[in-house]
């Protein structure tokens, strides 16, 4: 299965329109990546994109499809995100989080 890339290289499958203000923020069916999840909002993982680095490491702490997450905080400087997954707070990088596709409000299609 071949995915069409938009210029954000986010594999969101969206059309490249040339003036992407974070266009993967709201995908075709209300999906977004973990990197864009606002603080205090819960969401469920739809899928973890296959090209993500260290997928297994993230999978081992519960970042797999179907897990519900809560975005707890953003670090004061730079790109760390604090996410509550399976009742544990985990810090991970925004770049890595951009490879995790989420569906807000815990609704899975």
């Amino acid at each position: 299965m071949k995915e069409r890339k938009c210029s954000w290289n986010c594999h969101c499958g969206g059309e490249s329109t040339g003036n992407e203000t974070p266009h993967h923020r709201v995908g075709s069916d209300g999906e977004m990546t973990l990197a864009d999840l606002p603080i205090g909002v819960s969401a469920t993982i739809v899928k973890v994109l296959p090209e993500m680095r260290g997928k297994k490491k993230f999978a081992d702490v519960g970042l797999v499809a179907g897990t519900e997450l809560l975005m707890e905080a953003h670090a004061p400087f730079g790109g760390l995100l604090r996410v509550k997954v399976l009742e544990t707070s985990m810090a991970l990088h925004r770049d890595d989080a951009a490879h995790i596709v989420m569906k807000p409000e815990g609704v899975l299609k």
Partner: protein
């Protein structure tokens, strides 16, 4: 009945495993390192109903894959034969996360006891456990404990005794199934493994390895024994991908979590209340966007104060004690009998041992503070807050604490880098740490700045020197990360454990471990080095002086001032005659381009013992005796002999050059490589030389600070 047992403790990070380990073994533990990695190995022995039990505390991991050095170590330990029982510690407040590891441990088919720890917290959270159901589910007996208090582990000991004495560890098949599609693939691969008849891993079911192979686990994929089944593995993975369209690496993790979700729904009931825990409330303040940084800096200041200011009087006592000791030896030992040995003992060995032990209060205090920050859970928050800033320089959040401690003393600061999980970041942090101007360099600045600079510029000069160190350190880190230590860093994933009140026992144990490690490993090297330096600074002894000092001193025995001057002159002559003096002379041509004469070169060699020795050595060479940095006479001598530009170059060179031998010894110890320690020394010398060369030559060219004061 067997009397000796080998039990391993396995569990997630922060699950209270160490608490149970401490409660069971007390102080009878041995802390070491797994060869080649910075992962700590801990083991201890305890007795139970006449049985001797060796308990091994494995590092905390989330999984048995090979995605971190800790996981590799745990994997290797668990696949080694001879384990009688696994104690799997589970944090009862977060069952789904903790039991993930359990699903993998169960596949090893080693007798296991599930320890549901912190069951009191779980009850408070509204979690109710159906223990018999969980026992059938995982095919292993289970027990509930309440953490660190010794009465909390009583139930564990009773159960353990029962299992070992009566063989109750007999387990039923765990009810863990990945579903028929995946089970078929596992069966196909394990069938092929069985056909190989591997003697080495006969004690582990082939199913365990089959699952690891299907997950493409790097450690198992590398094992040559399984090369012959790789074709079957690839075939099964292809088949699964075509049938289920899931990525090979993670489908088993997916299924495991799905299995657990089912099991937990079944065996653990939860009241729907989701109240915010105290820990989260603390974090609202601690990692707050605005308060986080000031709070962190305040806590750092507290650590700094505690480590260096509170430990300072103790260090004074230790110095006094060793001074007193060598005085006593000098008094009782007749100078006529074996004068050489007498000096070696008093000035070499006693001073050398003193030089090692004098750091001990620093190290003990620092590690008490660090253990407090680490065990309470704050360290992870500090890393979370500082990460963004440090990353700009190629470092990470956890590098910040050691770097700040480097302003106090590089030796404990380097030991503090152990909290950095990424091997590469840790190496870079260690390598740049000597550039943070430590407190032993302060006397050098305190001597030179008032001598050469007007009072209104003095504070500014001090600030400039410290700043140069910081800028070069961060720049060097940046450069090293993009050259020597290049590549995608390890994936960053850090748990922020809930805040916990650390126990005094664990803090003391931690502190004691570090102190012992320092004395044993670094102490011996430092002692050896300071004896060598003592030789260089003492021998060969001069017999023929330019003046007949003894006669001259006798002639003016009443004039104390004159006697002292003569004695100092003689010491200067003696120093020039020693190996250090000769090396200094020999190095003069090399040092002249950076504005150094042989005296400065000789003093730089002395500074290898400890940076502040530079001052006293220079005092001796200028025939002012052993003076400190406040000496007006030595300052006068400096002003007469050097220009302000040279003065600045001295400070610059001392800041950047080879650190003291204690630092090199600890670098060697922490990086476990002589090569790295020597490369560090060579690199820093080159850095210092080139920087000072550029500054001195540029200064000469532009005529800045080249005219002597006076």
């Amino acid at each position: 009945m067997k009397m000796r047992y080998r039990i391993v403790l396995a569990g997630n990070p922060n699950c209270g495993k160490s608490c149970i380990f401490n409660a069971l073994t007390g102080t009878r533990q041995h802390v070491g390192n797994y060869p080649g990695v910075t992962v700590e190995s801990k083991s201890g022995v305890f007795h139970l109903n006449g049985m001797e039990i060796e308990l091994i505390d494995l590092p905390g991991v989330y999984s048995l894959s090979a995605s971190s050095p800790e996981e590799v170590v745990v994997f290797e330990e668990l696949t080694r034969p001879g384990i009688d029982l696994i104690l799997n510690v589970i944090d009862s407040t977060i069952p789904r996360r903790s039991l993930y590891l359990t699903t993998q441990l169960a596949e090893l088919r080693i007798p296991m006891l599930l320890v549901f720890n912190m069951s009191d917290d779980a009850a408070r959270k509204g979690l109710r456990y159906d223990i018999p159901k969980l026992e059938t589910y995982f095919g292993a007996p289970a027990v509930q404990t309440v953490g660190c208090r010794s009465d909390g582990v009583r139930s564990l000991l009773e159960k353990l005794a029962g299992i070992l004495e009566n063989g109750h560890g007999r387990r039923s098949e765990p009810m863990l199934s990945f579903g028929t599609d995946i089970e078929d693939a596992i069966a196909a691969v394990s069938g092929r493994i069985d056909a190989l008849r591997l003697g080495k891993y006969a004690h582990i079911p082939s199913r365990f390895f089959a699952i690891k192979l299907l997950e493409h686990d790097s450690a198992v994929m590398r094992m040559a024994e399984f090369d012959l089944v790789h074709d079957e593995v690839e075939r099964q993975i292809r088949h699964l991908r075509e049938k289920h369209a899931i990525s090979a690496e993670t489908f088993l993790a997916d299924r495991r979590y799905a299995m657990l979700a089912g099991a937990c729904r079944d065996a653990i009931s939860m009241t729907q209340e989701r109240r915010r825990e105290i820990s989260d409330r603390i974090d609202l303040v601690m990692t707050n966007k605005f308060l986080g940084l000031p709070l962190f800096l305040a806590i750092m200041y507290g650590t700094f104060y505690f480590t260096f200011i509170c430990a300072d009087p103790l260090m004074g006592y230790i110095e006094e004690f060793f001074g007193f000791l060598s005085g006593v030896v000098r008094d009782v030992w007749n100078p006529e009998t074996l004068p050489f040995l007498r000096n070696l003992v008093t000035d070499g060995i006693i001073a050398g041992v003193g030089g090692v032990i004098v750091f001990l209060p620093n190290i003990l205090f620092l590690f008490f503070a660090i253990a407090l920050l680490e065990d309470s859970g704050y360290m992870a928050r500090a890393a979370f807050v500082m990460d963004g800033v440090m990353r700009k320089f190629g470092l990470q959040g956890r590098s910040f604490v050691p770097l700040v401690l480097g302003f106090g003393c590089t030796v404990p600061a380097i030991m503090a880098t152990r909290t950095i999980e990424s091997e590469r970041d840790r190496k870079v942090t260690i390598m740049v740490l000597p550039l943070m101007s430590c407190s032993a360099r302060l006397p050098i600045y305190a001597l030179i700045i008032p001598a050469f600079f007007a009072p209104k510029h003095q504070a500014f000069m001090m600030w400039v020197i410290y700043l140069i160190g910081v800028i070069i350190a961060l720049g060097a880190a940046r450069i090293m990360k993009s050259t020597l230590f290049r590549g995608d860093g390890e994936v960053y994933l850090m748990e922020l454990p809930p805040y916990r009140m650390p126990t005094l026992k664990s803090l003391m144990l931690h502190m004691w471990d570090r102190g012992r490690m320092y004395l044993r490993k670094a102490g011996t090297i430092i002692l050896f080095a300071s004896i060598v330096l003592y030789f260089c600074n003492t021998f060969p002894e001069k017999k023929q002086f330019s003046k007949a000092y003894d006669v001259l001193i006798e002639q003016c025995a009443d004039d104390a001032e004159r006697v002292a001057a003569l004695e100092n002159e003689r010491r200067a002559e003696q120093m020039e005659y020693t190996i250090s003096g000769r090396v200094g002379h020999a190095l003069e041509p090399l040092f002249r381009p950076i504005g150094f004469d042989w005296k400065l070169a000789t003093a730089s060699i002395g500074a290898l013992a400890a940076k502040e020795v530079f001052v006293s050595q220079l005092g001796i060479l200028y025939a002012e005796g052993e003076v400190d940095e406040e000496s007006p006479e030595l300052r006068e001598q400096l002003v007469e002999n050097y220009t302000p530009l040279q003065g600045f170059c001295i400070m610059l060179f001392c800041l950047l050059s080879i650190p003291c031998l204690a630092t090199l010894a600890i670098i060697r110890r922490e990086l476990n490589s002589w090569k790295m320690a020597l490369a560090e020394a060579g690199g820093l010398f080159l850095l210092a030389y080139l920087t000072t060369l550029i500054v001195y030559q540029a200064g000469m060219l532009l005529q800045i600070g080249t005219s002597p004061i006076s």
